[in-house]
């Protein structure tokens, strides 16, 4: 009798779990349907019919018909880093007639098993690890599978079969920094801000470039208008997390309260909170578009809150992934003798840049493709265009101008006694060197 007693209550609770689970899943599905996280369902798993043999596919070794992308714990649907990696992987798969396999990780303990399991399958042309957090795991498997090609995005691993794809984020950050300064001055704000994720040295590059850009933009604005206002205050906040929009929101609210006219998002998914804070702040003042503005990061995030994100510093992870695949094909085709090494992508290589209306168009397409029925492409495009047009065109031109100068002659541009070449030469940054840049450029 006691035993049936357990069975009965067990069955009852199980039933409850079932009901809760079903209801939960229904709610989850109906909620997540419209997010770009679902992009994977349509274009990701391309049916074998799309893998038409192309020139690239002809040169792949026997049995290797696929590429694999391992995302970091931010995962797909982060609207930036991992989603861009997907874009590049998808593009490469399409163009070269390969199958794309995506693998996500729950914790960092999953990286090594994920990479190993993929390597053991033996059918992947190249296995691409998205993010420097997978450095150790890649190092380990690269030794165990010397005949398997790997690539790591945004990380550095010194192995003959690993391609390290790095970005010059300081270059892109300098451009948005200049834009931020000019926008802030144009709308008479006294400060600009930057909200960052966890304090890791990769982010110092963003910081340094941004600070330099702000001071440079200020200088240009003064020269252009002849108004000599006191220097902008630069506020920076490390939220300590890449995955916590609530913290991003709080940090941004604080910066806006201190008079920031532009806030730069360098915080992954935490950045979604930055956008929300800016939008709420504007709407509470009855505005349908900034100022103040946010600046997006990694991907083109301008469409997330149209009218409130002045531009995005795009780190072209997609270019990196695509290049990693292309080079793998070249390697198998015998065009290059070693696969490993560093591939550094800057302004020149199209690896970083400030988002344009064309980029916006591309991202809108992805969103539509992913089945986001709620997105009105024309409306968003019009809103962003109106926002951009509300700034005098010379500001945009000045950013463009700076881009050309950084590409061609970074030694020639100088503010507060620092040339951009000085900024670039300090990469990789340590906490001491960022401290130096912060104090020289009067940040804080």
């Amino acid at each position: 009798m006691k035993n049936t007693g357990i069975a009965k209550s067990t069955a009852l609770i199980l039933l409850l779990v079932v009901i809760v689970a079903v209801v939960g899943v229904v709610i989850y599905m109906s909620l997540t349907q419209p997010t770009p996280a679902q992009t994977k369902t349509s274009p990701t798993t391309p049916s074998p019919t799309t893998t038409l043999p192309t020139t690239g596919a002809a040169t792949t070794p026997a049995g290797k018909t696929a590429i694999a992308v391992v995302y970091d714990i931010g995962g797909r649907g982060d609207l930036s880093f991992n989603d861009m990696a997907y874009l590049g992987g998808n593009r490469a798969a399409r163009e070269f007639g390969l199958e794309l396999k995506e693998v996500q990780s729950t914790t960092e303990a999953d990286y090594l098993p994920n990479l190993r399991t993929l390597a053991r399958e033996g059918k992947y042309l190249v296995i691409i690890a998205v993010g420097f957090l997978m450095t150790d795991a890649i190092t380990q498997v690269a030794d165990e599978f010397p005949n398997q090609l790997f690539a790591i995005i945004d990380g550095y691993v010194e192995k003959p079969n690993v391609l390290s794809v790095l970005f010059k984020e300081h270059e892109g950050s300098a451009l948005v920094g200049a834009l931020a300064a000019m926008v802030a001055r144009y709308y008479n704000y006294s400060a600009v801000g930057i909200v960052l994720g966890m304090e890791i040295p990769v982010l110092y590059k963003f910081e340094a470039g941004y600070y330099w850009g702000v001071r440079y933009g200020e200088k240009i604005y003064n020269e252009k208008t002849g108004v000599n206002a006191s220097p902008l205050r630069i506020i920076y906040t490390y939220t300590g997390a890449f995955n916590d929009p609530a913290r991003g929101k709080t940090a941004t609210q604080a910066q806006l309260g201190m008079g920031a006219g532009v806030v730069y998002n360098v915080a992954g998914a935490t950045g979604l909170g930055i956008f929300e804070a800016v939008e709420e702040y504007c709407k509470s003042q009855g505005k349908t578009q900034g100022p103040p503005f946010a600046i997006g990061v990694d991907a083109d995030q301008d469409w997330i809150k149209p009218g409130f994100i002045i531009a995005s510093m795009m780190k072209r992870v997609d270019v990196g992934v695509y290049e990693a695949v292309r080079r793998a094909l070249d390697y198998y085709a015998g065009k290059i003798s070693t696969y490993g090494g560093v591939l550094e992508l800057g302004l020149k290589e199209g690896g970083v840049g400030v988002s344009t209306l064309d980029d916006l168009d591309t991202f809108l397409k992805i969103a539509i493709q992913a089945g986001r029925k709620d997105i009105n492409r024309d409306e968003i495009y019009a809103k962003v265009k109106a926002m951009r047009d509300s700034l005098p065109s010379w500001i945009w031109d000045a950013v463009k101008n700076l881009e050309d100068q950084l590409k061609n002659n970074p030694e020639a541009v100088q503010v507060y006694g620092l040339t951009f070449a000085d900024i670039a030469s300090r990469v990789p940054y340590s906490s001491e060197s960022i401290q130096y840049v912060r104090s020289t450029l009067k940040v804080g």
Binding site: L14, M198, G240
Partner: protein, 359 residues
């Protein structure tokens, strides 16, 4: 074991199987709802976890089971004393931090491993002791205290990771354990290290402590009723304190073993993500194992298999991780249900014994 007890366990295993089938069935519905093939998904799951033909996947399963076995033992020994100790999470953090502190020191090679495990155990014990003192001296609810201590431990570890023990060249992680302090890998080319054997031994020791020592006897009496314990001359407060300390030691060891015995990083990584969640997962393992150290071993292997098989579901069946997690969460909850009702029933009996219910 008497016939009635055996019968109880047999019926329990029946219930677990029922729960497993229910969980798998609903999981299958969800998977096919999402447009994927449930059969190939489950094939992927089992082929990359409990695949006898391929020791690599078995090794992966056991490597995931290792820390869970220990955190489950923490919960189990506490539950045996009637204490709902969910502080394993924080104790794992502190134990891992202890190992990292040792890794940062300049020591003779052969000292790294014993020192790391020792300091990990001590720091876990300290964390357990704090919770225990709150519970025993101030009668603060242990759930509240341990949850708070979990967060405090998390932020201490985060602070230490970012500002104190960061790797100068890769500051997103802490200093790694030097090679000489790393436990050997058991199956070459897998993540399974000797930490599994240590965990196994410790779990068996916990079993022996609970059923073959005076302390374990006292723990179980305290768990059955405070009045009975006092009557028997047992000091319930002191016994609970021991339970908190032992629990902390076990989870501290789990944390240290993750640093010394889990390739490739041998460090605490960004957001402590490589050691997060182990303590909480241990609770469901312990419930599944009826808070019995010996049953915890197979229970941890089942949950370890689910963790290991998650990549099989992604790679072989193309099921996205969100759905893999949803299905696995469902299975884990379903599996924990029989154990939970079992425990509730015992607590009901105990309450009735104390005269807290009925008239």
């Amino acid at each position: 074991m008497s016939a009635s007890v055996k019968l109880e366990y047999v019926s329990y295993i029946g219930n677990v199987l029922l729960a497993l089938i229910t969980g798998l069935a609903i999981g299958a519905i969800i998977i096919s709802w999402g447009g994927y093939d449930p059969i190939s998904a489950y094939r992927g799951l089992f082929e990359t976890s409990l695949n006898i033909a391929d020791p690599y996947y078995l090794a992966m399963t056991l490597s995931y089971a290792t820390p869970l076995m220990l955190t489950a033992a923490t919960f189990a020994i506490s539950a045996r004393a009637g204490v709902f100790n969910i502080g394993a999470e924080g104790q794992v953090f502190m134990g891992a931090l202890g190992a990292v502190v040792v890794a940062s020191l300049k020591l003779p090679d052969q000292l790294y491993l014993p020192m790391a495990l020792l300091l990990g155990i001590l720091m876990g014990a300290l964390w357990g002791l704090i919770a225990g003192l709150f519970k025993v001296l101030r009668n603060v609810n242990e759930v509240v205290v341990t949850i708070m201590l979990n967060w405090i431990a998390y932020w201490i570890v985060e602070y230490a990771r970012i500002y104190v023990y960061y790797d100068r060249y890769r500051p997103e992680k802490t200093i790694s354990m030097p090679r000489s302090g790393v436990l050997p890998v058991l199956v070459p080319g897998s993540e399974l290290s000797a930490s599994f054997i240590i965990a196994l031994i410790v779990t068996i020791i916990i079993y022996l402590v609970l059923w073959r020592t005076r302390l374990g006897y006292s723990i179980r009496v305290v768990g059955i009723g405070l009045k009975t314990a006092k009557y028997a001359g047992i000091n319930p407060g002191l016994t609970m304190l021991y339970v908190f300390i032992i629990g902390g030691m076990i989870s501290g060891l789990a944390g240290a073993l993750e640093i010394c015995g889990r390739p490739p990083t041998y460090a605490i990584t960004t957001g402590a993500s490589n050691i997060a969640g182990l303590g909480f997962a241990g609770i469901s393992v312990s419930l599944l194992g009826l808070n019995h150290p010996i049953f915890i071993i197979p229970a941890s292997i089942i949950i370890g298999a689910l963790n290991a098989g998650s990549r099989g579901m992604q790679i072989r069946a193309g099921v996205p991780l969100e759905m893999v997690k949803a299905v696995q969460g469902l299975i884990v909850i379903a599996l924990a249900v029989p154990g939970f009702t079992y425990m509730l029933r015992k607590w009901r009996i105990r309450k009735a014994l104390r005269g807290e219910t009925g008239d």
